[in-house]
Amino acid sequence: MGNFVTERDDSTTATSVTSQQLLQAVKGFIAETVTPALSDRNQFNARVAANVIGIVQREQALGPALSALDNAAFSKWIPDGAPDQDVVPQISQAIAKRTIEPDTAFLDYLKQRQLLLSAINNPRYANRAAAAEKWRYLDTDAHSAADTR
């Protein structure tokens, strides 16, 4: 999957700046300039803000893989659903109505989904490493994502 950390291109011919690089610049500004200048609660919130930028960066990189996973699950388990509407709420409703059998295949989908989601939202969550190790048999972009934070 795409890189989480986008560095400046130090060749003198580079002129365009990607959205990932813009986010990186904002994150760097918050972490290095804004945060030290603040105190107490605002300093804490500035750290949170820098982390939030990280979430957005990782979602940019991994969001397409998550959508692909959800769309595949939707096609498999809700063949009569409405593909032009959000698929995730339809999956949740089907679970609530118990029209999806809670078998190991469906559990594998949820494992892959959570590995991706946690790679986006908090790749350093302690239990994530244990889960990623245990579920290494699954083929998912989230495994490589976990190593790239």
Binding site: L107, Q114, N122
Partner: protein, 337 residues
């Protein structure tokens, strides 16, 4: 309310209480300790006595249609529970006075300040607390067993016995109220319903007994804080909650709150109660706690959407995926779907 006004109202209130002080004593060192969704906590000194004020500001936030106790008891009821717990020798602060909503300070109570460390990152890894940590799981088990001996007929009206089925209905409604039901949360709720224990006794639970609500000194457990989520339920619920992954602060190899072992927690419980839930039954409540934490994250998101709170709340909403990961991980480890 500004700190100056708060101090002035406290001066008037404290003069009437049985706390030793010379004439003309004024509140000093008034400091706000923490923010919560509902309540403010202030530390201050009255003559030579350090005290704590818990108060609900008049502008206290609420989320409409939140069915469940996630926003907690009233402070009057919380104070009542702490007083009941004190009678069972649970380490809780002495409560000097409880004030109703009509009081100038608003709904609040004043309690003793217990010295100790309440920030887990300060005591979970520091050498100074290594001997405290050794006995802590046992002490937590004993304190929970003592809490569970409170006579439920003494509880305030707001703490009624609820069947698990009723609580599941409440959780389902809350999931749908948020309009953002995640597959993992719904899967977790279904699993909890399908694997619910039968015929469990109902006792008073602390309801939020986690590492962040323990007050620890170098000898061990000094106090138990934040009783606002107290409710009735099965004893194993409190024990399993303490062992939830999310409350281990990264020390996932230490199942009891990131500092202890199951066997010690259960031995402490048995030392008071004469029995203890079996270790496997705690795992069910770890799943339950994971779902509960996910709901708290969603509540933070709902509060943020309603215009209340800063960026931290928006960010905490994303931590739901930690709870979801735990749900799937624990259900996978349980072995039956």
């Amino acid at each position: 309310m500004e700190p100056e006004a708060l101090a002035e109202h406290l001066n008037l209130t404290l003069e009437g209480l049985a706390i030793d002080h010379p004439v003309g004593t004024r509140v000093t060192n008034l400091t706000r300790l923490s923010g919560g969704a509902n309540n403010e906590t202030w530390r201050f000194t009255w003559h030579e006595t350090p005290l704590i004020l818990r108060r609900r500001p008049f502008s206290a936030e609420s989320v409409e249609n939140l069915d469940g106790n996630i926003l907690g008891l009233s402070l009057v009821d919380e104070a009542h529970i702490i007083q009941l717990a004190a009678q069972t020798s649970v380490p809780v602060p002495h409560i000097y006075t409880v004030l109703e909503t009509s009081h100038h300070l608003g709904e609040s109570f004043v309690m003793a300040f217990i010295p100790g460390e309440s920030i887990p990152q300060h005591w979970l890894n520091a050498d100074a607390f290594s001997s405290a940590r050794k006995g802590l799981a046992y002490e937590c088990g004993a304190a929970l067993a003592q809490t569970h001996t409170v006579d439920c007929s003494q509880l305030p009206q707001s703490i009624k016995p609820l069947t698990l089925a009723h609580r599941f209905d409440g959780i389902q409604r809350r999931l749908q109220t948020f309009g953002d039901v995640s597959p993992a949360m719904q899967f977790g709720l279904n699993w909890l319903i399908d694997h619910a224990p039968e015929d469990v006794p109902c006792v008073l639970l602390h309801g939020d007994f986690r590492t962040g609500n323990l007050l620890v000194n170098e000898q061990g457990l000094a106090g138990i804080l934040d009783w606002e989520l107290a409710h009735q339920g099965p004893p194993a619920e409190d024990l399993g909650y303490l062992c939830a992954h999310v409350w281990r602060f990264g020390n996932i190899e230490k199942p009891v709150g990131g500092f202890g072992e199951y066997a010690d927690l259960l031995a402490g419980y048995r030392s008071i109660a004469g029995w203890a839930p079996d270790q496997e039954s705690l795992k069910y409540w770890e799943v339950f706690a994971a779902l509960n934490w996910g709901l708290v994250c969603q509540t933070m998101g709902a509060l943020w959407h309603s215009g209340s709170g800063d960026i931290e709340r928006a960010a905490v909403a994303r931590r739901r995926s930690e709870a979801e990961l735990d749900l799937i991980y624990l259900i996978d480890a349980w072995g039956t779907l």
